[in-house]
Symmetry: C2
Subunit: 419 residues, 2 copies
């Protein structure tokens, strides 16, 4: 069963907005066993819509349109699709009722145009839209399936997940599952090299590496008759790959680094804190993005200026004078200082040169020092990031914030083992 995804709308066509709906829908279709054959973006122009739909109906089994379900006279996506399926549009009483209720509840004025949104193809189903007025549409006829979804993501995606995917899953033979092993601190080339033979040999699951923000994500993708069977195919390979990378493989089930860190701290009854300079609060922001962070985190310090490193964290003037703020000596004192201040078990510090300015020959942009302070001891390390492109600053900060969390995770595991 193959499908074409047709997004209708000048906003997407002319680059005002990114076609994010299409990505999730394409992945969802493939997971459900429907092969995506083509994706198209067409303008709101009626002639273009008609032509695009006619071509799609010739080629594919499932035609899924996104957008173009507005109430105005030139929103002809509904009409064109019904025409291709060879049926007229008819009024859906349940949808009419919902539209009436929606306008009453929000105190808005109903115009004649709004009733157009209650029209669905004869023999089709209106798929409930809890976040807007236009229902989704499902019609199966003569070996074709027509799916129509409203454009705004907050309307489109819930209808797709809740009403479209279940129907499609019932009709397809194979299901697809994707699972990731997330690896921090191993360069992509090294990861690929160590996994090369396995990746080449493995057909089901297919195994491929993806790089993002200095992390390597190993994606395992498997097909089987059911989702459960497909997921089971990923189990052994995922564990073997994780074992290959030890502590660096921090997640096999989709958890982010922050989620794994917070969970690990909680499981070991530990509190962590952070003193940040160049990352400016990104580490503590990441930790607190996880619900339940309050069980493992009480607070942190952004010590951007030397005066604050000295005054609040106790970094010595001597260290600042002799080694500078961007040094392992300073990082050590920052970590020690914030750990004491917050009465935490573990602390990490970050001090570096995010760029684009501020670099020197001795300490170029991308030089970042980290300190870790625990009851059992302290250590420091330095990274030298070589980020490229227009967002050197953000890239260096992002990678530093991940490194800081990773170091906390390693320290938490070590401490946890001793308990």
């Amino acid at each position: 069963m193959n499908c074409e995804i047709i997004a209708v709308g000048d906003e997407v066509l002319t680059g005002d907005i990114v076609n994010t709906n299409a990505r999730e829908i394409a992945a969802g279709l493939e997971d459900a066993g429907v092969r995506v054959r083509r994706q198209i973006v067409t303008s709101d122009n009626p002639a273009e819509i008609r032509q695009t739909l006619a071509e799609a109906f010739d080629r594919s089994d499932v035609i899924l349109t996104i957008g173009g379900l507005g109430p105005t006279y030139d929103d002809i996506t509904r009409e064109s699709a019904a025409e291709q399926m060879g049926v007229p549009l008819v009024r859906d009483p349940e949808t009419e009722r919902r539209i009436r209720e929606y306008f009453t509840a929000t105190g808005r004025e109903l115009t004649d145009n709004n009733w157009r949104q209650a029209m669905i193809p004869e023999g089709g189903e209106a798929l409930v839209n809890l976040n807007g007025t236009a229902p989704g549409i499902w019609l199966e006829k003569n070996g074709k399936i027509l799916v129509q979804l409203p454009g705004p993501p907050r309307e489109c995606l819930p209808i797709f997940r809740e009403s479209v995917l279940p129907r499609l899953r019932e009709r397809t033979g194979q299901k697809r599952v994707t699972r990731s092993v997330r690896i921090f601190g191993i360069p992509e080339a090294a990861a690929e090299s160590r996994l090369h033979d396995r990746m080449t040999a493995s057909r089901n699951p297919v195994i491929a590496p993806y790089v993002k923000d200095g992390e390597v994500e190993i994606r395992l993708r498997a097909w089987a008759d059911t989702e459960e069977a497909a997921y089971a195919l990923t189990e052994a390979p995922a564990r073997e790959i994780a074992a290959e990378f030890g502590d660096h493989a921090y997640s096999l089930n989709g958890e982010s680094l922050s989620e794994v860190l917070v969970r690990t701290l909680r499981e070991n009854g530990l509190h962590a804190t952070a003193a940040e300079s160049c990352t400016g609060g990104m580490v503590t922001a990441a930790i607190t993005s996880v619900a339940g962070a309050s069980e493992v985190f009480d607070g942190g310090v952004c010590s951007y200026a030397n005066a604050v490193k000295a005054g609040l964290l106790g970094v010595s003037e001597e260290t600042l004078r002799e080694h500078g703020a961007v040094s392992e000596a300073c990082a050590a004192e920052m970590a020690r200082g914030v750990r004491k201040l917050m009465r935490a078990d573990l602390a990490v510090s970050v001090t570096g040169i995010a760029g684009p300015g501020g670099g020197t020959p001795e300490k170029p942009v991308g030089t970042v020092c980290f300190g870790v302070s625990t009851p059992d001891g302290e250590y420091t390390l330095t990274r030298h990031y070589r980020s490229q492109g227009s967002s050197v600053r953000e890239s260096n900060r992002t990678r530093s914030a991940l490194e800081a969390q990773f170091q906390l995770l390693l320290a938490a595991r070590r401490l946890g083992k001793k308990q």
Copy 2:
């Protein structure tokens, strides 16, 4: 002149990655005066590529392909496009030289396949790729223009900006410019209502509202013979719209709220700080994302637990007991405390319930209190966010972080006027 954008690649087609190249390319084309007629995503399958290209060549003046320029035998995008243009592929000596250099410099092994990337259509130009081996391709023939770009964004977009857009701009009549007035703290419905008549009446520029993270962006889009003339058309309307919203319209030229805040602080010689609870460091992270923040920012505190609010910022036990951490009383003391601690001119505090848990009938999820402390006085305010969807926590945190920065901006302007 109209264009079709064809992205080649299973990764985009099946939803592994978002088609971000297409958004920037479509917007760039429209700015250059080329109308985007259709966007297509096709698989790596040779037959699909051939068919898609044939159809595009029938319909449009400019055919722009993204991806499919790899070195392996089934990367037939180059061949198919040259076929459509009626020319053979020929080896480009300069590209061969670059490929040889690239492999020598990176110590990688050259295979026969790699030379395929030096093939360009006869009569065409190889567009230099500084970030990879496959050059872009430009060919003009018989009223058609063929543009081919490599898939990875860091290769594709520089070639598009530096080599393709200038060539296209020379060939088109009209240029398009987009400019935004960014408005904080006005609900979308109110902004649309106030601008309704203006938006309906204005044809050039076209004026339309976009909402993101609780901000309203009024986009003005103008067309003229030159970019300068188009930009000039936006000048008066942009200023008038900004004047309509006073302080709420914080930017007319693309600056983000953080950038405007840092610039305003710097222009007025002021230092700011922040004490954050639920935002966890997002405010200080945003301020420090702006290069030059060290001139206006020394540090901040993430006081997540009550003990830290009390111990480090001096929030009284009485306040915490009687009003709780999420209260204007607590926000006032947090702001006062961090301002003193950091010896800043201005301070903002944020304390609230980001969710999804933690809400009560008196203080539901989305209740966030802010405090502002300045030499001239203090004030507090409460917001009640009603975020929906799966990321309530992130939505509440993001909106709170923006509100905090906006309050600092208002305070900075007020203080600045008095100087």
